[in-house]
């Protein structure tokens, strides 16, 4: 949404009507997001409002501030506050083989398609700390495809990318991940893929050899290749409809014909004008194939 000033805020004294509290708050949010964009280049202007409002307030309270305007003043003058806000604004929750049925559907319905290519490029957009990327790599390894695959895993947040590159995850998560892995049709013992050490579970480097982690902002950066598959789950839920539309345009122009688009469980392409370019591969798991 572009910077929008409510008409009532501009009326002179004669026609003065006080701005409703909510409208005023929305105005403050517009202003701080515009400021962040102009000062730091991060474009959160078209993120979904409800969620962004929660995150802004969370940061404001944590800084001991009582208004979004107060946060704006602080953020524009202080890089450290901005960095902390960035962490709040990027929600990085993820896990390995999250939604096992999704991976099962990839095995059964997408792998046969991928097999037809001599070389496979996959874009994992909004990869967070890499659990999803690694899950895909494990699956492709078990299907005998990893050696001819390159996975481009991108995120807006450099801190999560640094963690992703290390490939070390908390040991206490391994039990859940093992269950997920089995439910996802895993073919061996999950523990074969990592070694436990003092820091956690370190995943075998042979898995990450074909992964390239890089920073990429879906809201402002361009397409950088043509892919046979794009996996972007639980990222666009943070965008408003206009930004979702733009990103769908980006994905459409980055997918080869018959390329596969994979979205999160509760996302859909039905709202975008690109919907008609896709055929459903699996309705529940939100797997789509580009057909025009």
């Amino acid at each position: 949404m572009a910077l929008r000033i409510e008409r009532s805020a501009l009326l002179g004294p004669s026609g003065f009507e006080p701005v409703k509290r909510n409208d005023l708050e929305n105005l403050e949010i517009d202003l701080v997001l515009e400021g962040i964009y102009q000062q730091y280049g991060f474009d959160f202007r078209d993120y979904a409002r409800g969620s962004i409002k929660r995150r802004l307030w969370r940061r404001a309270y944590a800084e001991g501030l009582e208004s979004i305007s107060g946060l704006q003043e602080r953020v524009l003058h202080d890089q450290d506050t901005m960095n902390r806000l960035l962490e709040d604004l990027s929600i990085n929750v993820t896990s390995m083989f999250r939604d096992p049925e999704f991976y099962l559907a990839i095995r059964q319905k997408v792998v046969p398609l991928l097999r037809t290519y001599p070389f496979i490029r996959i874009w994992n957009a909004g990869c967070s700390t890499g659990e999803e990327t690694l899950s895909l790599a494990i699956l492709l390894r078990e299907e005998g495809l990893i050696d001819r695959t390159k996975i481009y895993a991108t995120d807006i947040n450099e801190n999560v990318l640094d963690l992703a590159k290390q490939g070390v995850f908390p040991l206490d998560k391994m039990r859940d991940y093992t269950e997920n892995y089995i439910a996802a049709g895993g073919k061996t013992a999950f523990s074969e893929y990592y070694t436990a050490n003092g820091q956690g579970a370190r995943f075998n480097e042979s898995l990450t050899e074909n992964i390239i982690f890089a920073q990429h902002n879906l809201a402002s950066d361009r397409s950088f290749n043509e892919f046979q598959m794009i996996v972007c789950r639980n990222v666009m839920i943070y965008f408003d409809r206009s930004l979702q539309e733009r990103v769908h345009g980006l994905f459409y122009s980055s997918l080869g014909m018959s390329g596969v688009l994979a979205l999160g469980r509760k996302e859909s392409i039905k709202f975008t004008r690109h919907a008609s370019a896709y055929e459903e591969i699996d309705v529940n798991e939100k797997l789509y194939k580009r057909v025009r």
Binding site: N22, A48, R49, G50, S51, K53, R54, R55, I91, V93, N234, M236, I237, Y238, R241, Q244, G264, R265, K266, E267, S268, F271
Partner: protein
């Protein structure tokens, strides 16, 4: 007050936890297919629960019950259930999802749904807290009251677990406290 012919409320949000499925069944059974106001339900549920909940509730209601998807439009005649493992946020006219951390050990959290709904609908909103064994929803219900919306709490004596409605009553003085079977008739009365 909205003009003649326009329903006074645009949305009913319902929060439930322990024992909620049964309570929701009762509530929905009391609403006929001409109930004019859409409902959004945040029910605490485990991350691997399937669509059983939707099926159970659907067999007791003439309204269209679905698990919410991101950016779903909010339409009359519909009941939207927060999907497992996501927070549900209400925006003006539509729904949004988030996977941010647990709030009150829950995802979906009732507070997240209620607070965003209060922001979006202010005094055109009704909030209902049903049975539960924790305090999620109290802050959200208070926010609904502060924005001028109507607040309803299930009488703890009629709840499978009284903690959640009791906490909501303590947080929101003046909330309408009703036994479970009277909540649907009350909604019908005020929403027409």
């Amino acid at each position: 007050m909205p003009p003649e012919g326009v329903p006074p409320f645009e949305l009913v949000v319902v929060g439930a936890s322990w024992g909620g499925l049964q309570a929701l069944r009762w509530l929905l059974e009391g609403l006929t297919d001409d109930f004019p106001t859409p409902l959004v339900v945040a029910q605490h549920r485990s991350s691997d629960s399937s669509d059983v909940m939707v099926r159970v509730l659907q067999s007791h209601s003439p309204l269209a019950i679905t698990e919410a998807s991101d950016k779903d439009a909010i339409e009359p005649g519909h009941v939207y259930i927060a999907p497992p493992d996501y927070h549900l946020l209400v925006e003006p006219g539509s729904l949004a999802l988030s996977t941010e951390g647990f709030v009150h050990h829950s995802r979906p959290s009732i507070d997240v749904a209620f607070e965003s709904a209060a922001d979006a609908y202010a005094d055109r909103l009704v909030g209902v807290i049903l049975t539960g064994a924790n305090t999620d929803g109290s802050a959200g219900l208070k926010r609904i009251r502060d924005e001028g919306g109507v607040t309803v709490v299930q009488d703890p004596a009629t709840a499978a677990r009284p903690e959640m409605p009791s906490a909501a009553m303590a947080a929101v003085k003046g909330a309408k406290v009703l036994p479970l079977r009277k909540i649907a008739p009350f909604l019908v009365e005020i929403c027409r």
